[in-house]
Symmetry: C2
Subunit: 147 residues, 2 copies
């Protein structure tokens, strides 16, 4: 039996071990329950499915909600840039959707996600909600430590 | 030594064992970081401090944010009724604030609360986000079971 050797160089990439995107098959009735504001937008809240930390809040329109459910990744509408914004395409901080809910009156959405990279915030922080009112605390860091 | 007896009737109410409201002393700089929309409103997300479930999303204006921080309880602005809405005054489902954060660009707030009563939703559900896209699941019930 030969000794263990270094594997030969290969042109094959490593086997994919990253998260898997899962399409969510929403019904027409579910999609019709969403109420958009005068700008065609709905509040989207993103929560870490592992740590339960609330990571960020952004907006979706009907098109980016449909894209999010189909692709299994969060896609928002950027109000400042007035363009579609698929989370992580620039930063690598993709969000893979594990569940999606709409609220009782259909004007807010909640996505539980697998957050890739260091976190959700463009500042480099784990959560966008890292600024406390009152004395400083470590609530979100604390939640992250439990991951 | 006398036998144990039923305590005598008393006109005193039971000792208060409910949650304690705690004022959050926000600095002027923190309050100035909040960005209100054209209607003077900011997104407010409410998360259960015990179960970590996202309970509801509503709006605050500068007045009801100040009331919330001072009273240690969530106070919203009702867009439909155009009036101040202190959560739980009608339903008993008060929310005692355990921490409050604003996000990186100041246009969303996150309150971690002690939720009283059966939950946050006017439908009687624990969380307003009880409607899944796709097949039914028990995400929020599951979270509640961990309380």
């Amino acid at each position: 039996m030969p000794e263990a050797t270094t594997p030969p160089p290969s042109s094959q990439p490593p086997a994919a071990t990253g998260p898997v995107a899962t399409t969510i098959e929403a019904t027409p009735e579910q999609l019709a329950s969403v109420r958009y504001d005068d700008d065609g937008l709905v509040v989207a809240i993103v929560q870490d499915d592992v740590t339960n930390a609330v990571l960020m809040q952004a907006y979706m329109n009907a098109e980016t909600l449909a894209m999010s459910l189909a692709q299994g990744r969060t896609v928002f509408w950027s109000r400042s840039r007035q363009e579609i914004w698929r989370k992580g395409d620039t930063s690598g901080e993709h969000q893979y959707i594990r569940s999606a809910h709409f609220d009782c009156d259909g004007d807010a959405l909640l996505f539980r996600v697998e957050q890739l990279g260091g976190g959700a915030c463009h500042t480099g922080q784990y959560s966008c909600f890292h600024n406390p009112f009152g004395a400083a605390d470590d609530t979100n860091t604390h939640l992250q430590d439990h991951a």
